[in-house]
């Protein structure tokens, strides 16, 4: 008996290998588990971001490391007319498309939330613009807006609404409207499906209770559906605003920033200066100019979402 008891304790007290002991410690384990994420985030987000900042305060070009020039690049772009146009364009583009995407997306979501035959199929179908690679669908749109082959012109002409060709992408205002249309077309499904998911978490009984309480349909929307959907709406808006603000593909394919630099956004102008022209540091400065705005948007919306969710 005594012997076995002794051997028992010795077994229990034998120290486990050092490696194992470290993993038993929650702080160490947490660190080990976090390492892959930290490495990935560091390599693909933190490093490029810091490189961008460093680049923006030099006079680097392609093939020339350049010297430290302080804020000269920023000073230069703020006095650049095209840059100011792109800032204006980016805000206009983001603002207008977000309003339309939200309105149309919400409308679509409310329709899809009803019961009808072929509901599942329609819901899947709605997602198409979102699924097709943006570059491909934008090329298709480019054809539709093409001055010579435009199916839109053909349609409007045969409906008797126009007499001559409309040069959609050749006119600065029409070109802006065109890219806005394409962005809305592409973005609505994301709003619709996300808001639909949000709508489905709202118990139909609440609407029924409100109906019995005497609320008319638009009152039910305003007093019940809208406030309950608000947290989801804010998250969807947050994603959309960030994406749209930094949009590149649609403008690049449709107009390339033209005609005469009239439709540049932050991203396309940064690309044109940084890569197209080779002025790396200036391109970096343009990209970075987006950062404070986006940062502010994110902060405001996150604070708002938190407030809404706490209620």
């Amino acid at each position: 008996m005594a012997i076995s008891a002794v051997s028992d304790t010795t077994l229990r007290e034998a120290p486990p290998p050092r490696r194992h002991r470290l993993l038993e410690d929650e702080r160490w384990l947490a660190f080990v588990l976090l390492v892959p994420t930290i490495v990935l985030l560091g390599m693909f987000i933190a490093y490029p971001f810091i490189r961008g900042i460093l680049l923006s305060v030099t006079s680097s070009r392609v093939g020339m490391p350049g010297d430290f020039v302080g804020l000269a690049n920023f000073y230069k772009i703020f006095n650049d007319g095209i840059f100011r146009t792109s800032v204006y364009n980016t805000f206009l583009y983001t603002g207008v498309t977000t309003v339309f995407k939200l309105a149309l997306g919400l409308w679509l979501a409310m329709l899809l939330n009803r019961n009808f035959r072929g509901k599942a199929f329609t819901r899947a179908f709605i997602l198409l613009p979102f699924i097709i690679p943006t570059v491909l669908s934008t090329f298709a749109w480019k054809w539709m807006f093409d001055p010579t082959f435009s199916v839109l012109n053909w349609l409007l002409y045969h409906l008797g609404l126009i007499t001559g060709r409309i040069n959609w992408l050749g006119d600065p205002d029409l070109a802006m409207i065109s890219i806005i249309i394409v962005n809305i077309w592409r973005g609505v499904p994301f709003f619709a499906i996300s808001l639909l998911a949000g709508l489905q978490t709202i118990s139909p009984e609440l609407n029924e209770a409100a109906a019995i309480d005497g609320a008319k349909p638009w009152q039910r929307f305003w007093h019940i559906t809208w406030p309950l959907l608000l947290p989801v709406t804010m998250v969807v808006m947050l994603f959309s605003v960030i994406q749209t603000f930094a949009d590149f593909q649609i403008v690049y394919v449709m107009t390339g920033g033209g005609p005469a630099n009239a439709t540049h956004l932050f991203a396309t102008y940064a690309y044109q200066i940084g890569i197209g022209t080779g002025l790396l540091s200036e391109g970096a400065a343009i990209s970075l100019a987006m950062f404070p705005v986006l940062f502010l948007v994110v902060i405001i919306q996150l604070l708002y979402i938190r407030r809404v969710e706490v209620r």
Partner: protein, 363 residues
């Protein structure tokens, strides 16, 4: 006033006939309970009265006016939902005030009514809270409050107690009864719990497969069930049924099967004259079975073997094997019985029920 009349109400969901030709008259100030198993059409009927579900055919009228085409808000009804359906983003006060605000009541009147209802329900200190900060019982009260403040002609309740724990359910049941006595508003109450139906209802509608099986006062359903379904649904533990063949011997009627052979009491025998030589369903409630003693002389008796003994404190439930069937008896808590005991069991002769074997209607 709050008189509700259903005339030939039908409801189809695609090919499913959910509610089948329901005709009912619910009187003013009456507490009417719809009871039945899941899918019997009771909730659908209630929702049709509320206006949340369209009627396939028939007429619903409230105080003499047909309301088939009226929107829920124009029917002057209030509904309490199973999951309470409180507006999660509003305070308790706003939840209760919402219906009055929508109807453009004056602020002072809203305040008065909400506080009055809050006092009746004892939730005055909860008025600033949000629904999710409340317990189930408190939410239930708020849902009731939201209905009360409107002073509607009819209250509709859709299984309002089914989400509460057993103890709270009993407590709220009593409160609902008290509330109804105090307010005197017509109430239509849907439940699958026959105890709730029996205790709350002035009258009870038993439904099955979309059809009304019987309408009556609780004791009427208990004592004179119209058919085997009602007999089995009302009362707990459920009525025992056993198929017997009716024969005649020496001028008396005998009911027998493999486990029992009893001489039917005169009153029952009268009704079964036309069924001699046929099979009928014999029904007897557990509380109408006793361990045979000297007092039961002349009562119909049979032999049974005890298979399970369930001690409930106030009574003992005996699961007994009678021939090939199982019967349950509820006996005095002082009875000394053990599993495996052979017993002589007596039936209270005036409490025998017989049902047609085919139609299941009471004979």
């Amino acid at each position: 006033m709050g008189q509700v009349v259903l005339k030939g109400i039908n409801k189809f969901f695609d090919s499913v006939h959910a509610v089948n030709d329901v005709n009912l008259q619910i009187r003013d100030k009456e507490f009417m309970v719809f009871v039945g198993p899941s899918g019997c059409g009771k909730t659908t009927t209630l929702r049709m009265i509320a206006g949340l579900e369209a009627i396939s055919s028939g007429d619903i009228s409230i105080d003499g006016n047909v309301v088939n085409e009226l929107a829920p808000m124009d029917r002057d009804i209030a509904m309490v939902f199973q999951n309470y359906a409180l507006y999660p983003h509003m305070s308790v006060y706003d939840n209760m005030a919402f219906g009055l605000k929508m109807r453009k009541f004056e602020k002072r009147e809203i305040d008065k009514r909400v506080l009055e209802a809050a006092d009746i329900l004892g939730i005055r200190e909860l008025l600033t809270r949000r629904p999710r900060q409340l317990s189930g019982g408190q939410r239930q009260r708020v849902a009731l409050g939201r209905a009360i403040v409107r002073h509607p002609r009819v209250f509709l309740f859709d299984e309002p107690l089914s989400n509460l724990d057993a103890k709270l359910r009993v407590q709220m049941r009593v409160e609902l009864k008290r509330l109804h006595l105090r307010l005197g508003t017509t109430a239509i109450y849907v439940t699958h719990d026959q105890v709730e139906a029996m205790t709350l209802g002035d009258r009870v509608v038993v439904m099955k497969d979309g059809m009304v099986q019987q309408v009556g006062e609780p004791l009427e359903l208990y004592n004179q069930p119209a058919n085997k379904f009602v007999a089995g649904f009302i009362g707990s533990p459920a009525m025992n049924f056993t198929a017997v063949t009716v024969t005649e011997a020496n001028g008396s009627l005998i009911a027998e099967n493999s486990g029992l052979r009893i001489k039917l009491p005169d009153e029952t025998a009268q009704r079964l004259r036309g069924h001699i030589g046929r099979e009928v369903m014999l029904g007897v409630r557990p509380e109408d079975l006793t361990v045979a003693g000297s007092a039961d002389l002349g009562h119909p008796c049979f032999d049974a073997v005890i298979e399970v003994v369930e001690q409930l404190g106030s009574e003992i439930l005996l699961d007994m094997k009678v021939g090939e069937s199982i019967m349950v008896a509820s006996v005095e808590p002082t009875a000394r019985v053990r599993v495996g005991d052979k017993l002589r069991v007596a039936m209270r002769p005036s409490r025998l029920h017989v049902f047609d074997a085919q139609t299941e209607a009471a004979i």
